[in-house]
Protein backbone atom coordinates (compact mmCIF):
# COMPACT_ATOMS: atom_id res chain seq x y z
CA UNK A 1 0.00 0.00 0.00
CA UNK A 2 1.28 3.42 -0.82
CA UNK A 3 2.28 5.57 2.12
CA UNK A 4 0.00 8.37 0.97
CA UNK A 5 -3.23 6.58 1.92
CA UNK A 6 -2.61 6.23 5.65
CA UNK A 7 -0.94 9.65 5.73
CA UNK A 8 -4.03 11.25 4.18
CA UNK A 9 -6.33 9.36 6.54
CA UNK A 10 -4.22 10.62 9.44
CA UNK A 11 -4.38 14.18 8.13
CA UNK A 12 -8.17 13.90 7.81
CA UNK A 13 -8.50 12.50 11.32
CA UNK A 14 -6.32 15.31 12.63
CA UNK A 15 -8.44 17.88 10.82
CA UNK A 16 -11.63 16.38 12.23
CA UNK A 17 -10.04 16.67 15.65
CA UNK A 18 -9.13 20.30 15.06
CA UNK A 19 -12.65 21.01 13.86
CA UNK A 20 -14.06 19.31 16.93
CA UNK A 21 -11.93 21.37 19.28
CA UNK A 22 -12.93 24.59 17.57
CA UNK A 23 -16.61 23.83 17.03
CA UNK A 24 -17.70 21.84 20.05
CA UNK A 25 -18.85 23.55 23.19
CA UNK A 26 -19.02 20.57 25.48
CA UNK A 27 -15.75 20.15 27.32
CA UNK A 28 -15.84 16.37 27.19
CA UNK A 29 -16.32 16.43 23.43
CA UNK A 30 -13.42 18.86 23.08
CA UNK A 31 -11.32 16.45 25.09
CA UNK A 32 -12.37 13.64 22.78
CA UNK A 33 -11.41 15.74 19.77
CA UNK A 34 -7.95 16.28 21.21
CA UNK A 35 -7.65 12.52 21.65
CA UNK A 36 -8.63 12.10 18.01
CA UNK A 37 -5.79 14.43 17.03
CA UNK A 38 -3.34 12.39 19.07
CA UNK A 39 -4.56 9.18 17.48
CA UNK A 40 -4.11 10.69 14.03
CA UNK A 41 -0.51 11.34 15.03
CA UNK A 42 -0.17 7.72 16.15
CA UNK A 43 -1.43 6.49 12.81
CA UNK A 44 1.07 8.74 11.08
CA UNK A 45 3.94 7.57 13.23
CA UNK A 46 3.24 3.90 12.67
CA UNK A 47 2.84 4.49 8.96
CA UNK A 48 6.17 6.26 8.68
CA UNK A 49 7.81 3.62 10.83
CA UNK A 50 6.78 0.93 8.37
CA UNK A 51 7.46 3.07 5.33
CA UNK A 52 10.99 3.97 6.46
CA UNK A 53 11.69 0.40 7.63
CA UNK A 54 13.11 1.93 10.79
CA UNK A 55 15.52 -0.56 12.35
CA UNK A 56 14.96 0.73 15.87
CA UNK A 57 11.24 1.35 15.38
CA UNK A 58 11.44 4.92 16.63
CA UNK A 59 7.97 5.66 15.34
CA UNK A 60 6.34 2.78 17.12
CA UNK A 61 8.10 3.59 20.36
CA UNK A 62 6.98 7.20 20.13
CA UNK A 63 3.45 5.89 19.54
CA UNK A 64 3.58 4.00 22.81
CA UNK A 65 4.67 7.15 24.61
CA UNK A 66 1.87 9.12 22.98
CA UNK A 67 -0.71 6.54 24.07
CA UNK A 68 0.49 6.60 27.67
CA UNK A 69 0.70 10.36 27.87
CA UNK A 70 -2.71 10.72 26.26
CA UNK A 71 -4.12 8.50 29.01
CA UNK A 72 -2.46 10.63 31.69
CA UNK A 73 -3.81 13.72 29.98
CA UNK A 74 -7.35 12.37 29.98
CA UNK A 75 -7.04 11.49 33.65
CA UNK A 76 -6.06 15.02 34.55
CA UNK A 77 -8.50 16.59 32.10
CA UNK A 78 -11.48 14.71 33.47
CA UNK A 79 -10.46 15.61 37.01
CA UNK A 80 -10.45 19.29 36.08
CA UNK A 81 -13.76 18.96 34.23
CA UNK A 82 -15.23 17.31 37.30
CA UNK A 83 -14.06 20.09 39.60
CA UNK A 84 -15.55 22.68 37.27
CA UNK A 85 -18.80 20.76 36.99
CA UNK A 86 -19.18 20.49 40.75
CA UNK A 87 -18.96 24.22 41.11
CA UNK A 88 -20.97 25.29 38.11
CA UNK A 89 -23.28 22.38 37.28
CA UNK A 90 -22.25 22.86 33.67
CA UNK A 91 -19.39 21.90 31.40
CA UNK A 92 -20.33 24.28 28.63
CA UNK A 93 -17.18 26.03 27.45
CA UNK A 94 -19.10 29.11 26.40
CA UNK A 95 -20.10 29.70 29.99
CA UNK A 96 -16.53 29.78 31.23
CA UNK A 97 -16.34 33.51 30.83
CA UNK A 98 -15.22 34.82 34.16
CA UNK A 99 -11.69 35.36 32.99
CA UNK A 100 -12.13 38.03 30.41
CA UNK A 101 -11.01 41.41 29.24
CA UNK A 102 -13.00 43.89 31.30
CA UNK A 103 -15.14 46.05 29.04
CA UNK A 104 -14.59 49.25 30.98
CA UNK A 105 -11.16 49.80 32.38
CA UNK A 106 -11.87 52.79 34.58
CA UNK A 107 -14.73 51.35 36.57
CA UNK A 108 -13.44 49.36 39.51
CA UNK A 109 -16.76 48.19 40.93
CA UNK A 110 -19.00 47.75 37.96
CA UNK A 111 -16.65 45.57 35.99
CA UNK A 112 -16.02 43.00 38.63
CA UNK A 113 -16.90 39.59 37.33
CA UNK A 114 -19.63 37.87 39.25
CA UNK A 115 -17.35 35.06 40.29
CA UNK A 116 -15.32 37.24 42.61
CA UNK A 117 -18.35 37.68 44.76
CA UNK A 118 -19.20 34.02 44.80
CA UNK A 119 -15.75 32.67 45.42
CA UNK A 120 -14.14 35.08 47.75
CA UNK A 121 -13.51 31.70 49.09
CA UNK A 122 -13.84 30.14 52.34
CA UNK A 123 -16.27 30.86 55.05
CA UNK A 124 -19.94 31.67 55.04
CA UNK A 125 -21.22 33.33 51.91
Amino acid sequence: MHVVYPAVVAALLFSIGVYGVLARRNTILVLMSVELMLNAVNLNLVTFDVWLRDQLHGGQVLTLFVIVIAAAEVGIGLAIVLAVFRNRQSIDLDRLRDLFEPPNSSDPDGSQPAATKVTTGVGPE
Partner: protein
Amino acid sequence: MNTITAPAIEYLQLAPLLIVFGAGILGVLVEAFAPRYLRRAMHIPLTLLSLAGAFALVIVQTIKGVPTKPSAMGAVAVDGPTLFIWGTILVLAFISLLLLNDEDHFVPAASAVPGSAEEERALIEGNVHTEVYPLALFAIGGMLLFPASNDLLIMFVALEVMSLPLYLLCGLARRRRLLSQESAMKYFLLGAFSSAFFLYGTALLYGYAGSVDLAKISTALSANVGQDALLFTGAALLGVGLLFKIGAAPFQAWKPDVYQGAPTPVTALMASGTLVAAFGALLRVFWVAIGELDWDWSPIMWGVAILTMVVGAILAITQTDIKRMLAYSSIAHAGFLLVGVVAIGDAKQNATALAAILFYLAVYGIASIGAFAIVTMVRDAGGEAWHLSRWAGLGKRSPKLAGLFAFFLLAFAGIPLTSGFFGKYAVFQAAVAGGAVQLVVVGVVASAVAAFFYVRVIVLMFFNDPAPDGPTVVLPSWGTASVVGFAALATVVLGVFPQPVLDLAQSAAGSLFVR
Protein backbone atom coordinates in the same frame (compact mmCIF):
# COMPACT_ATOMS: atom_id res chain seq x y z
CA MET B 1 17.62 -9.89 12.95
CA ASN B 2 19.11 -6.65 14.07
CA THR B 3 20.43 -6.51 17.57
CA ILE B 4 19.65 -3.90 20.13
CA THR B 5 22.43 -3.08 22.52
CA ALA B 6 21.89 -1.74 25.98
CA PRO B 7 22.34 2.04 25.91
CA ALA B 8 25.11 3.79 27.79
CA ILE B 9 23.70 6.32 30.21
CA GLU B 10 25.90 9.02 31.74
CA TYR B 11 24.21 9.06 35.11
CA LEU B 12 26.40 11.79 36.54
CA GLN B 13 25.50 14.20 33.78
CA LEU B 14 21.82 13.50 34.26
CA ALA B 15 22.07 13.57 38.05
CA PRO B 16 20.30 16.94 38.53
CA LEU B 17 17.29 15.58 36.65
CA LEU B 18 17.35 12.30 38.53
CA ILE B 19 17.52 14.06 41.89
CA VAL B 20 14.53 16.27 41.16
CA PHE B 21 12.41 13.42 39.81
CA GLY B 22 13.55 11.13 42.62
CA ALA B 23 12.55 13.72 45.19
CA GLY B 24 9.17 14.03 43.46
CA ILE B 25 8.61 10.28 43.79
CA LEU B 26 9.72 10.36 47.42
CA GLY B 27 7.25 13.19 47.88
CA VAL B 28 4.45 10.94 46.62
CA LEU B 29 5.56 8.30 49.13
CA VAL B 30 5.44 10.92 51.88
CA GLU B 31 1.90 11.73 50.79
CA ALA B 32 1.01 8.06 50.89
CA PHE B 33 2.51 6.99 54.19
CA ALA B 34 3.31 9.98 56.40
CA PRO B 35 0.63 11.13 58.85
CA ARG B 36 -1.07 14.33 57.86
CA TYR B 37 0.51 16.60 60.46
CA LEU B 38 4.03 15.56 59.46
CA ARG B 39 3.67 15.89 55.72
CA ARG B 40 4.48 19.55 55.32
CA ALA B 41 7.40 19.28 57.67
CA MET B 42 8.81 16.48 55.52
CA HIS B 43 8.03 18.02 52.16
CA ILE B 44 9.72 21.36 52.74
CA PRO B 45 13.24 20.06 53.43
CA LEU B 46 12.89 17.30 50.84
CA THR B 47 11.86 19.73 48.11
CA LEU B 48 14.26 22.52 48.89
CA LEU B 49 17.23 20.23 49.54
CA SER B 50 16.69 18.34 46.31
CA LEU B 51 16.63 21.58 44.34
CA ALA B 52 19.73 22.82 46.14
CA GLY B 53 21.43 19.48 45.56
CA ALA B 54 20.60 19.53 41.90
CA PHE B 55 21.96 23.07 41.68
CA ALA B 56 25.18 21.98 43.36
CA LEU B 57 25.53 19.15 40.86
CA VAL B 58 25.03 21.58 38.00
CA ILE B 59 27.89 23.67 39.39
CA VAL B 60 30.08 20.59 39.81
CA GLN B 61 29.34 19.63 36.23
CA THR B 62 30.22 23.13 35.03
CA ILE B 63 33.54 23.12 36.90
CA LYS B 64 34.39 19.62 35.72
CA GLY B 65 33.97 20.75 32.15
CA VAL B 66 31.08 20.87 29.79
CA PRO B 67 30.44 17.60 27.95
CA THR B 68 31.01 17.90 24.24
CA LYS B 69 28.58 15.27 23.13
CA PRO B 70 25.01 14.43 24.07
CA SER B 71 24.47 11.93 26.84
CA ALA B 72 22.11 8.96 27.05
CA MET B 73 22.72 7.88 23.44
CA GLY B 74 22.02 11.34 22.08
CA ALA B 75 18.70 11.71 23.83
CA VAL B 76 19.62 14.41 26.32
CA ALA B 77 22.18 17.13 25.64
CA VAL B 78 23.91 18.42 28.75
CA ASP B 79 25.89 21.20 27.10
CA GLY B 80 26.86 24.74 28.07
CA PRO B 81 23.50 26.38 27.40
CA THR B 82 21.70 23.50 29.11
CA LEU B 83 23.80 23.85 32.25
CA PHE B 84 23.16 27.60 32.35
CA ILE B 85 19.44 27.05 31.85
CA TRP B 86 19.40 24.33 34.50
CA GLY B 87 21.10 26.62 36.97
CA THR B 88 18.64 29.40 36.17
CA ILE B 89 15.57 27.16 36.44
CA LEU B 90 16.76 25.65 39.70
CA VAL B 91 17.30 29.07 41.27
CA LEU B 92 13.94 30.29 40.00
CA ALA B 93 12.23 27.10 41.17
CA PHE B 94 13.83 27.35 44.58
CA ILE B 95 12.56 30.86 45.19
CA SER B 96 9.15 30.07 43.69
CA LEU B 97 8.87 27.19 46.11
CA LEU B 98 9.62 29.47 49.03
CA LEU B 99 6.66 31.47 47.82
CA LEU B 100 4.52 28.39 47.27
CA ASN B 101 5.31 27.34 50.79
CA ASP B 102 2.87 29.85 52.32
CA GLU B 103 0.01 27.55 53.09
CA ASP B 104 -2.87 29.91 52.49
CA HIS B 105 -2.48 30.05 48.71
CA PHE B 106 -3.97 26.66 48.12
CA VAL B 107 -7.39 25.18 48.60
CA PRO B 108 -7.94 22.96 51.65
CA ALA B 109 -9.94 20.36 49.72
CA ALA B 110 -9.82 20.65 45.95
CA SER B 111 -12.84 18.47 45.35
CA ALA B 112 -15.14 20.38 47.69
CA VAL B 113 -17.51 23.06 46.46
CA PRO B 114 -16.69 26.51 47.89
CA GLY B 115 -18.85 27.25 50.91
CA SER B 116 -19.98 23.66 51.33
CA ALA B 117 -19.99 21.69 54.55
CA GLU B 118 -17.24 19.51 53.18
CA GLU B 119 -15.01 22.51 52.77
CA GLU B 120 -15.87 23.82 56.22
CA ARG B 121 -14.76 20.54 57.67
CA ALA B 122 -11.52 20.54 55.69
CA LEU B 123 -10.81 24.06 56.89
CA ILE B 124 -11.48 23.24 60.51
CA GLU B 125 -9.30 20.17 60.33
CA GLY B 126 -6.61 22.35 58.81
CA ASN B 127 -6.26 20.22 55.72
CA VAL B 128 -3.90 21.38 53.05
CA HIS B 129 -3.08 19.81 49.75
CA THR B 130 0.54 19.04 50.40
CA GLU B 131 0.54 17.32 47.03
CA VAL B 132 1.56 20.67 45.62
CA TYR B 133 5.18 19.95 46.56
CA PRO B 134 5.63 16.73 44.56
CA LEU B 135 3.54 18.23 41.75
CA ALA B 136 5.81 21.25 41.64
CA LEU B 137 8.86 18.98 41.68
CA PHE B 138 7.58 17.00 38.72
CA ALA B 139 6.86 20.21 36.86
CA ILE B 140 10.36 21.48 37.64
CA GLY B 141 11.87 18.18 36.50
CA GLY B 142 9.99 18.55 33.23
CA MET B 143 11.27 22.10 32.92
CA LEU B 144 14.83 20.83 33.34
CA LEU B 145 14.39 18.06 30.78
CA PHE B 146 12.56 20.19 28.19
CA PRO B 147 15.45 22.46 27.11
CA ALA B 148 17.97 19.63 27.45
CA SER B 149 16.15 17.16 25.24
CA ASN B 150 18.02 16.38 22.10
CA ASP B 151 15.33 14.39 20.40
CA LEU B 152 11.70 15.11 19.82
CA LEU B 153 10.45 12.09 21.78
CA ILE B 154 12.18 13.24 24.96
CA MET B 155 11.07 16.77 24.24
CA PHE B 156 7.43 15.70 24.02
CA VAL B 157 7.63 13.68 27.22
CA ALA B 158 9.32 16.58 28.98
CA LEU B 159 6.70 18.99 27.66
CA GLU B 160 3.94 16.88 29.14
CA VAL B 161 5.74 16.17 32.41
CA MET B 162 6.16 19.91 32.77
CA SER B 163 2.62 20.83 31.78
CA LEU B 164 0.41 18.19 33.39
CA PRO B 165 1.27 19.10 37.01
CA LEU B 166 0.95 22.78 36.14
CA TYR B 167 -2.58 22.25 34.82
CA LEU B 168 -3.53 20.84 38.20
CA LEU B 169 -1.66 23.44 40.23
CA CYS B 170 -3.50 26.19 38.36
CA GLY B 171 -6.83 24.94 39.64
CA LEU B 172 -5.95 24.85 43.32
CA ALA B 173 -6.25 28.51 44.35
CA ARG B 174 -7.87 29.00 47.73
CA ARG B 175 -9.65 32.21 46.82
CA ARG B 176 -11.57 33.07 43.66
CA ARG B 177 -12.02 29.37 43.12
CA LEU B 178 -14.14 29.50 40.00
CA LEU B 179 -11.58 31.66 38.26
CA SER B 180 -8.85 29.28 39.27
CA GLN B 181 -10.64 26.22 37.98
CA GLU B 182 -11.61 28.01 34.82
CA SER B 183 -7.98 28.92 34.24
CA ALA B 184 -6.94 25.30 34.79
CA MET B 185 -9.56 24.17 32.29
CA LYS B 186 -8.52 26.70 29.67
CA TYR B 187 -4.84 26.00 30.17
CA PHE B 188 -5.46 22.29 29.94
CA LEU B 189 -7.57 22.38 26.78
CA LEU B 190 -5.33 24.82 24.96
CA GLY B 191 -2.21 23.05 26.19
CA ALA B 192 -3.44 19.65 25.03
CA PHE B 193 -4.47 21.20 21.71
CA SER B 194 -1.04 22.72 21.20
CA SER B 195 0.84 19.60 22.21
CA ALA B 196 -1.18 17.70 19.60
CA PHE B 197 0.20 20.16 17.04
CA PHE B 198 3.69 19.63 18.43
CA LEU B 199 3.24 15.89 18.02
CA TYR B 200 1.89 16.08 14.50
CA GLY B 201 4.91 18.18 13.61
CA THR B 202 7.12 15.56 15.23
CA ALA B 203 5.46 12.79 13.23
CA LEU B 204 5.93 14.65 9.95
CA LEU B 205 9.58 15.45 10.70
CA TYR B 206 10.06 11.79 11.57
CA GLY B 207 8.61 10.92 8.20
CA TYR B 208 10.98 13.37 6.57
CA ALA B 209 14.21 12.49 8.33
CA GLY B 210 13.58 8.92 9.48
CA SER B 211 14.51 9.88 13.02
CA VAL B 212 13.33 12.13 15.80
CA ASP B 213 16.88 12.98 16.78
CA LEU B 214 17.50 16.71 16.32
CA ALA B 215 21.02 16.17 14.97
CA LYS B 216 19.79 13.56 12.49
CA ILE B 217 17.03 15.88 11.29
CA SER B 218 19.71 18.49 10.72
CA THR B 219 21.84 16.00 8.78
CA ALA B 220 18.87 14.98 6.69
CA LEU B 221 18.41 18.65 5.80
CA SER B 222 21.89 18.99 4.35
CA ALA B 223 21.71 15.62 2.65
CA ASN B 224 18.46 16.87 1.14
CA VAL B 225 16.65 13.58 1.32
CA GLY B 226 12.97 13.14 1.96
CA GLN B 227 10.13 15.35 0.94
CA ASP B 228 10.04 19.08 1.48
CA ALA B 229 6.30 19.13 2.09
CA LEU B 230 6.78 16.92 5.13
CA LEU B 231 9.66 19.04 6.33
CA PHE B 232 7.97 22.42 6.08
CA THR B 233 4.61 21.31 7.45
CA GLY B 234 6.33 19.43 10.24
CA ALA B 235 8.56 22.33 11.21
CA ALA B 236 5.62 24.75 11.16
CA LEU B 237 3.45 22.53 13.37
CA LEU B 238 6.33 21.93 15.76
CA GLY B 239 6.82 25.68 15.91
CA VAL B 240 3.16 26.20 16.79
CA GLY B 241 3.50 23.86 19.75
CA LEU B 242 6.64 25.57 21.02
CA LEU B 243 5.46 29.13 20.42
CA PHE B 244 2.32 28.30 22.36
CA LYS B 245 4.39 27.37 25.38
CA ILE B 246 6.29 30.66 25.39
CA GLY B 247 3.04 32.54 24.80
CA ALA B 248 4.00 34.21 21.54
CA ALA B 249 1.26 35.91 19.54
CA PRO B 250 -0.95 34.66 17.91
CA PHE B 251 -0.85 31.81 20.45
CA GLN B 252 -0.85 34.06 23.50
CA ALA B 253 -4.55 33.86 24.41
CA TRP B 254 -4.09 31.43 27.30
CA LYS B 255 -1.49 33.48 29.12
CA PRO B 256 -3.55 36.29 30.66
CA ASP B 257 -6.38 33.95 31.63
CA VAL B 258 -4.09 31.40 33.22
CA TYR B 259 -1.84 33.89 34.97
CA GLN B 260 -4.88 35.65 36.37
CA GLY B 261 -6.66 32.57 37.62
CA ALA B 262 -3.79 30.47 38.93
CA PRO B 263 -2.58 30.79 42.53
CA THR B 264 0.02 33.56 42.45
CA PRO B 265 3.02 31.40 43.46
CA VAL B 266 2.16 29.01 40.63
CA THR B 267 1.91 31.98 38.29
CA ALA B 268 5.37 33.01 39.44
CA LEU B 269 6.71 29.53 38.72
CA MET B 270 5.11 29.52 35.26
CA ALA B 271 6.15 33.06 34.39
CA SER B 272 9.77 32.27 35.18
CA GLY B 273 10.52 28.56 34.90
CA THR B 274 8.22 27.59 32.05
CA LEU B 275 9.33 30.55 29.97
CA VAL B 276 13.02 29.72 30.45
CA ALA B 277 12.49 26.04 29.70
CA ALA B 278 10.33 26.68 26.65
CA PHE B 279 12.83 29.15 25.23
CA GLY B 280 15.61 26.63 25.67
CA ALA B 281 13.61 24.02 23.78
CA LEU B 282 12.57 26.51 21.09
CA LEU B 283 16.19 27.52 20.52
CA ARG B 284 17.30 23.92 20.36
CA VAL B 285 14.70 22.99 17.77
CA PHE B 286 15.10 26.08 15.64
CA TRP B 287 18.88 26.36 15.84
CA VAL B 288 19.97 22.73 15.97
CA ALA B 289 17.34 20.76 14.06
CA ILE B 290 16.24 23.27 11.45
CA GLY B 291 19.01 25.84 11.82
CA GLU B 292 19.99 25.29 8.19
CA LEU B 293 16.55 26.40 7.16
CA ASP B 294 16.85 29.82 8.77
CA TRP B 295 16.18 31.53 5.45
CA ASP B 296 12.81 29.88 5.46
CA TRP B 297 11.74 30.34 9.04
CA SER B 298 13.23 33.65 9.98
CA PRO B 299 10.72 35.81 8.03
CA ILE B 300 7.91 34.05 9.88
CA MET B 301 9.73 34.44 13.17
CA TRP B 302 10.13 38.14 12.41
CA GLY B 303 6.38 38.42 12.04
CA VAL B 304 5.73 36.46 15.21
CA ALA B 305 8.23 38.54 17.16
CA ILE B 306 6.74 41.84 15.99
CA LEU B 307 3.19 40.68 16.62
CA THR B 308 4.10 39.37 20.07
CA MET B 309 5.82 42.58 21.14
CA VAL B 310 3.04 44.79 19.82
CA VAL B 311 0.16 42.69 21.17
CA GLY B 312 1.81 42.31 24.56
CA ALA B 313 2.67 45.98 24.96
CA ILE B 314 -0.60 47.41 23.65
CA LEU B 315 -3.07 45.07 25.32
CA ALA B 316 -1.26 45.49 28.63
CA ILE B 317 -2.32 49.13 28.66
CA THR B 318 -6.00 48.28 28.79
CA GLN B 319 -5.73 45.83 31.68
CA THR B 320 -7.23 46.49 35.07
CA ASP B 321 -6.13 43.29 36.76
CA ILE B 322 -2.61 43.39 38.11
CA LYS B 323 -1.85 39.75 37.27
CA ARG B 324 -3.35 40.10 33.81
CA MET B 325 -1.20 43.13 33.22
CA LEU B 326 1.90 41.20 34.27
CA ALA B 327 0.82 38.39 31.93
CA TYR B 328 0.69 40.75 28.97
CA SER B 329 4.03 42.13 30.06
CA SER B 330 5.32 38.55 29.98
CA ILE B 331 3.99 38.22 26.42
CA ALA B 332 5.82 41.39 25.42
CA HIS B 333 9.02 40.05 26.97
CA ALA B 334 8.63 36.79 25.05
CA GLY B 335 8.54 39.01 21.96
CA PHE B 336 11.76 40.78 22.96
CA LEU B 337 13.40 37.41 23.48
CA LEU B 338 12.21 36.23 20.06
CA VAL B 339 14.17 39.14 18.59
CA GLY B 340 17.25 37.32 19.85
CA VAL B 341 16.08 34.02 18.34
CA VAL B 342 15.90 35.62 14.91
CA ALA B 343 19.47 36.91 15.20
CA ILE B 344 20.94 33.66 13.92
CA GLY B 345 24.10 33.78 11.82
CA ASP B 346 27.57 32.30 11.96
CA ALA B 347 28.89 30.58 15.08
CA LYS B 348 30.17 33.77 16.72
CA GLN B 349 26.93 35.63 16.07
CA ASN B 350 24.97 32.68 17.43
CA ALA B 351 27.03 32.63 20.60
CA THR B 352 26.42 36.35 21.15
CA ALA B 353 22.69 36.04 20.59
CA LEU B 354 22.45 32.92 22.75
CA ALA B 355 24.36 34.55 25.62
CA ALA B 356 22.05 37.57 25.40
CA ILE B 357 18.93 35.39 25.52
CA LEU B 358 20.26 33.35 28.44
CA PHE B 359 21.06 36.48 30.43
CA TYR B 360 17.69 38.04 29.61
CA LEU B 361 15.85 34.89 30.68
CA ALA B 362 17.67 34.78 34.01
CA VAL B 363 17.08 38.41 34.93
CA TYR B 364 13.49 38.48 33.69
CA GLY B 365 12.66 35.31 35.60
CA ILE B 366 14.00 36.68 38.87
CA ALA B 367 12.28 40.05 38.51
CA SER B 368 8.95 38.48 37.64
CA ILE B 369 9.02 36.19 40.67
CA GLY B 370 9.73 39.26 42.79
CA ALA B 371 6.80 41.12 41.28
CA PHE B 372 4.39 38.22 41.80
CA ALA B 373 5.66 37.79 45.35
CA ILE B 374 4.62 41.37 46.06
CA VAL B 375 1.23 40.73 44.46
CA THR B 376 0.65 37.99 47.04
CA MET B 377 1.21 40.44 49.87
CA VAL B 378 -1.32 43.13 48.97
CA ARG B 379 -4.61 41.77 50.25
CA ASP B 380 -8.25 42.68 50.33
CA ALA B 381 -10.87 40.98 52.43
CA GLY B 382 -11.40 38.38 49.71
CA GLY B 383 -7.78 37.65 48.93
CA GLU B 384 -5.28 39.44 46.78
CA ALA B 385 -6.20 42.96 45.72
CA TRP B 386 -6.34 42.18 42.06
CA HIS B 387 -7.89 45.32 40.67
CA LEU B 388 -5.38 47.99 39.73
CA SER B 389 -7.49 50.74 41.28
CA ARG B 390 -7.03 49.06 44.64
CA TRP B 391 -3.32 49.66 44.30
CA ALA B 392 -3.84 53.43 44.16
CA GLY B 393 -1.95 55.27 46.82
CA LEU B 394 -0.13 52.17 48.03
CA GLY B 395 3.06 54.19 47.97
CA LYS B 396 1.69 56.47 50.68
CA ARG B 397 0.58 53.67 52.95
CA SER B 398 3.44 51.25 52.60
CA PRO B 399 6.21 53.04 50.72
CA LYS B 400 8.74 50.22 51.06
CA LEU B 401 6.57 47.62 49.37
CA ALA B 402 5.38 49.99 46.67
CA GLY B 403 8.94 51.08 46.11
CA LEU B 404 10.07 47.49 45.57
CA PHE B 405 7.19 46.83 43.20
CA ALA B 406 8.02 50.01 41.29
CA PHE B 407 11.61 48.83 41.11
CA PHE B 408 10.60 45.48 39.58
CA LEU B 409 8.37 47.28 37.10
CA LEU B 410 11.28 49.51 36.11
CA ALA B 411 13.38 46.41 35.63
CA PHE B 412 10.67 45.05 33.31
CA ALA B 413 10.70 48.34 31.46
CA GLY B 414 14.46 48.11 31.07
CA ILE B 415 15.46 51.31 32.82
CA PRO B 416 19.25 51.64 33.30
CA LEU B 417 20.65 50.51 36.66
CA THR B 418 18.23 47.60 36.71
CA SER B 419 19.01 44.14 35.41
CA GLY B 420 16.32 44.45 32.74
CA PHE B 421 18.29 47.16 30.98
CA PHE B 422 21.29 44.95 30.33
CA GLY B 423 19.10 42.05 29.29
CA LYS B 424 17.30 44.11 26.71
CA TYR B 425 20.47 45.87 25.62
CA ALA B 426 22.28 42.57 25.07
CA VAL B 427 19.43 41.05 23.04
CA PHE B 428 18.93 44.13 20.88
CA GLN B 429 22.67 44.49 20.34
CA ALA B 430 22.90 40.88 19.21
CA ALA B 431 19.95 41.43 16.89
CA VAL B 432 21.58 44.52 15.35
CA ALA B 433 24.77 42.55 14.83
CA GLY B 434 22.65 39.85 13.21
CA GLY B 435 21.20 42.37 10.77
CA ALA B 436 17.72 42.63 12.26
CA VAL B 437 17.77 46.41 12.63
CA GLN B 438 14.12 46.96 11.70
CA LEU B 439 13.09 44.39 14.27
CA VAL B 440 15.09 46.18 16.94
CA VAL B 441 13.37 49.46 16.03
CA VAL B 442 10.00 47.80 16.59
CA GLY B 443 11.36 46.33 19.80
CA VAL B 444 12.45 49.71 21.11
CA VAL B 445 9.09 51.28 20.26
CA ALA B 446 7.29 48.38 21.97
CA SER B 447 9.54 48.84 25.00
CA ALA B 448 8.55 52.48 25.13
CA VAL B 449 4.87 51.56 25.01
CA ALA B 450 5.47 48.94 27.69
CA ALA B 451 7.33 51.47 29.81
CA PHE B 452 4.21 53.62 29.63
CA PHE B 453 2.03 51.12 31.42
CA TYR B 454 4.68 50.24 33.96
CA VAL B 455 5.09 53.90 34.79
CA ARG B 456 1.32 54.28 34.92
CA VAL B 457 1.16 51.75 37.74
CA ILE B 458 3.98 53.52 39.54
CA VAL B 459 2.18 56.87 39.20
CA LEU B 460 -0.99 55.20 40.45
CA MET B 461 0.81 53.90 43.51
CA PHE B 462 2.69 57.04 44.44
CA PHE B 463 0.70 60.02 43.21
CA ASN B 464 -2.90 58.96 43.79
CA ASP B 465 -4.77 59.13 47.03
CA PRO B 466 -5.32 55.81 48.75
CA ALA B 467 -8.87 54.52 48.91
CA PRO B 468 -10.31 54.73 52.45
CA ASP B 469 -11.02 51.00 52.54
CA GLY B 470 -7.86 50.18 50.65
CA PRO B 471 -6.11 46.83 50.74
CA THR B 472 -3.91 45.85 53.61
CA VAL B 473 -0.35 44.73 53.23
CA VAL B 474 0.08 41.50 55.08
CA LEU B 475 3.19 40.86 57.09
CA PRO B 476 5.17 38.55 54.83
CA SER B 477 6.26 35.14 56.00
CA TRP B 478 10.01 34.53 56.06
CA GLY B 479 9.68 32.75 52.72
CA THR B 480 7.93 35.55 50.91
CA ALA B 481 10.16 38.16 52.50
CA SER B 482 13.31 36.35 51.44
CA VAL B 483 11.94 35.87 47.92
CA VAL B 484 11.27 39.59 47.57
CA GLY B 485 14.62 40.41 49.15
CA PHE B 486 16.54 38.04 46.92
CA ALA B 487 14.77 39.16 43.76
CA ALA B 488 15.33 42.84 44.57
CA LEU B 489 18.97 42.25 45.44
CA ALA B 490 19.59 40.23 42.28
CA THR B 491 17.87 42.86 40.17
CA VAL B 492 20.02 45.63 41.66
CA VAL B 493 23.28 43.73 41.55
CA LEU B 494 22.74 42.53 38.02
CA GLY B 495 21.76 46.06 37.08
CA VAL B 496 25.02 47.49 38.40
CA PHE B 497 27.48 44.63 37.95
CA PRO B 498 26.02 42.44 35.22
CA GLN B 499 29.47 41.35 34.06
CA PRO B 500 29.95 38.14 36.07
CA VAL B 501 26.63 36.68 34.97
CA LEU B 502 27.08 38.01 31.44
CA ASP B 503 30.47 36.31 31.32
CA LEU B 504 28.93 33.12 32.62
CA ALA B 505 26.23 33.29 29.95
CA GLN B 506 28.85 33.98 27.29
CA SER B 507 31.03 31.06 28.28
CA ALA B 508 27.94 28.85 28.47
CA ALA B 509 26.85 30.00 25.04
CA GLY B 510 30.36 29.86 23.59
CA SER B 511 30.20 26.14 23.01
CA LEU B 512 26.71 26.49 21.49
CA PHE B 513 24.31 23.56 21.44
CA VAL B 514 25.96 20.19 20.94
CA ARG B 515 24.69 18.15 18.09
